[in-house]
């Protein structure tokens, strides 16, 4: 219990220091002389956030870019780290896996989310049905990792299975399988976890978009004798296109940065590593900050076009409105 008191005290001190800093800023900007007061006030309000961002994000990002050109001892090595990344088999596996992730997760999570949103649209109990699929969004990736490792748990064929998936295999007369150990298919079982988490997000956003489709359009299509599938293809999809793109790009960005799932379920072993996990392993476990930095830079370069595309789209939508 004493331990908890210490921790509580630490929090109180932290909050007190923070409050003191903010209070000081407020005091200074209030007491400022009339001339130049506006400038000082602006500076006082902006400075804390901007200094933190400059020191904690902008400068480190630039430094990381430079680090990517050095080796473990800090010597300049040119593009060696990038050569390593694109030639060494273990690094290539990482890139290949990341590619598989970034194709499958957005595609499947959005498709399943969309299908589910359409299926349950206006159905009885829609809200509860939504909550069920949306719930994994609140669960940490680490928690999800435990949940799914338990689903994939393996016991020898002569024993009772404790993992649901292996039990299903046994029920169908198959041998139980080491889902997370056997490459290359183990990557797909990790990807399933990410899809499980992201589908809820896609479903909720797309469901809102579907509800926003003007009823007249749906009605008109129906009167023209369009089948359910034709309506879906020719009315629903084109109308919610904007939301669909936002969903796909958002999930794409999240997938590129995926770290926790791989870290907790396989730690990147058995050929399951991805760029974000390898970055951590190289920089903080293997003592290769240069390689880690290079991987972080590659991650940035992969995220960049997606974000730019997304931002452009948002701007265009705003102009239309």
């Amino acid at each position: 219990m004493e331990d908890f008191a210490d921790k509580g005290l630490q929090v109180v001190i932290g909050l007190a220091i923070f409050a003191a800093i903010i209070g000081l800023i407020m005091l200074v900007v209030d007491r400022a002389p009339k001339s130049g007061r506006e400038k000082l006030q602006v500076a006082g309000f902006l400075a804390p956030a901007l200094i933190l961002l400059a020191v904690g994000l902008v400068f480190p990002a630039l430094q990381t870019s430079y680090l990517s050109l050095t080796n473990g001892n800090g010597d300049f090595v040119g593009l060696d780290n990038f050569v390593w990344m694109f030639t060494q088999p273990e690094a290539l596996v990482t890139l290949r896996n990341t590619l598989i992730w970034v194709v499958l997760v957005p595609l499947l999570a959005s498709s399943i989310g969309l299908a589910y949103a359409v299926f349950i649209d206006r159905a009885r109990g829609e809200k509860a049905l939504k909550a069920l699929v949306f719930m994994p969004m609140a669960i940490s990736f680490v928690g999800a990792g435990v949940i799914w490792r338990f689903v994939y748990a393996y016991k020898g064929p002569e024993q009772d299975q404790i993992g649901l998936l292996n039990q299903v295999l046994v029920w169908f007369g198959q041998e139980p399988k080491q889902f997370l150990l056997d490459a290359p298919e183990n990557t797909f079982f990790l990807i399933a976890v990410m899809i499980w988490i992201q589908t809820g997000f896609a479903m909720v956003v797309l469901s809102a978009a579907i509800k926003g489709i003007p009823t007249e359009i749906v009605e008109a299509a129906r009167l023209d004798g369009a089948s359910a599938w034709q309506q879906f293809r020719n009315v629903t999809i084109p109308t919610i296109r904007g939301s669909l793109i936002v969903v796909v790009t958002t999930i794409t960005i999240g997938t590129l940065k995926v770290f926790d799932i791989v870290r907790t379920m396989t730690a990147g072993q058995y050929e399951t590593s991805v760029v974000a996990n390898e970055m951590y392993t190289q920089a903080f476990r293997a003592g290769e900050p240069g390689r880690g930095a290079a991987l972080a830079l590659v991650l940035f370069l992969m995220v960049l076009p997606v974000v730019v595309y997304n931002a452009r789209l948002l701007r265009k939508q705003k102009e239309i409105r």
């Binding site: 902006l46 609140a138 928690g143 770290f259 939508q317």
Partner: protein
């Protein structure tokens, strides 16, 4: 997860509002229902089951005696009803170094997340206020730059930031942000949360009617008075909404914790401990199931308890987008 564009969140809300107004079955409702075939219903149920069963299995297992968890599948509870709270007592109690000692890490999570969220909210809203209502040259370009910082994956900042905390911000034996305390995590989380916080809160604060602020100015109120007396109370819904998002992200974080916490029971959050138990004692399912549930109970409670509230707050913030 940290880059969900505003529009998505807006749509989240719209959705819940739709749910709220669903009590009036009209013509269209019937029309739409006919489009939903039996096959679609079946597919929806299958998806809902797949999305729920893994979590359900974890929850059920966490209440089963150790021998049962390890000996046979959780689906056997329907015939063999034995339940215990032993697993929870085991993972929470402080015991020896081998014990999961999760209560301690649970407290750490709270001690990291609460100040981390408060700092981000205060600094973010101060900056957002100036970007919305301050008068200074270069405002727009500076704001766009801060917005663009969301692109930088936090992986880009980790290595230099750790060096900064441990080597640069150190004068003799005095560390500005001492290792072995929560301070580094608070600051790191604040930095990584600021770009999105400033952007979202700016959108809300900019919508506050200008007359209100003008009137206060005419009465001679300075920025600090306006900020604390007018902006903060009026922006409470937006602050609450973003606060909840930030709370969930920080609670579920693993990467930042791994880099800055040192990993001991005095600082590390529960996600990190859970990941550790998974790595070192992956077969201890009685601990993993109970531990995972302890770690996801807070986000789940926040999610189900406050869903409506944060959704409504964001809606108010994005009326005009």
């Amino acid at each position: 997860m940290s880059t969900v564009p505003l529009d998505n969140q807006k749509e989240l809300l719209r959705d819940v509002d739709d749910d709220a107004s669903q009590g009036n079955p009209t013509m269209q409702t019937r029309v739409r229902q006919r489009l939903t075939s039996r096959g679609a219903t079946a597919a929806a149920i299958i998806i809902a089951v797949i999305w729920t069963v893994p979590t359900f299995g974890l929850l059920v297992s966490s209440f089963r005696p150790e021998d049962n968890i390890k000996g046979n599948g959780w689906w056997n509870v329907f015939t063999d009803r034995q339940f215990t709270l032993e697993n929870y007592a085991d993972v929470l109690s402080p015991g020896g170094s081998q014990s999961p000692n999760l209560l301690s890490y649970f407290v750490n999570s709270l001690a990291i997340v609460i100040p981390g969220t408060i700092f981000t909210l205060v600094l973010g809203s101060m900056a957002a206020y100036m970007f919305a209502w301050g008068r200074f040259r270069g405002k727009d370009s500076l704001f766009i730059f801060v917005f663009a910082l969301q692109i930088v994956p936090l992986q880009m900042a980790l290595i230099p930031l750790l060096q900064l905390f441990t080597q640069v911000l150190k004068f003799g034996d005095f560390q500005v942000l001492p290792s072995g305390t929560y301070a580094q995590l608070w600051v790191a989380h604040t930095i990584f949360g600021l770009p999105l916080a400033i952007f979202l809160l700016h959108n809300f604060i900019a919508e506050i009617p200008g007359e209100v602020i003008e009137a206060a100015r005419v009465d001679g109120a300075g920025h600090s008075t306006i900020f604390w007396r007018i902006i903060v109370p009026l922006a409470t819904p937006a602050l609450a909404s973003f606060g909840i998002f930030q709370f969930l992200w920080l609670w579920n974080d693993l990467l930042v914790a791994l880099v800055f916490s040192g990993g001991g029971a005095d600082v590390a959050p529960i996600t990190q401990r859970l990941a550790e138990i998974q790595g070192s004692r992956g077969g201890e399912w009685q601990r993993l199931t109970a531990g995972a549930f302890v770690s996801i109970i807070v986000p789940l409670a926040v999610f189900f308890g406050l869903q409506r509230y944060f959704v409504r707050g964001l809606l108010a913030g994005g009326l005009k987008g």
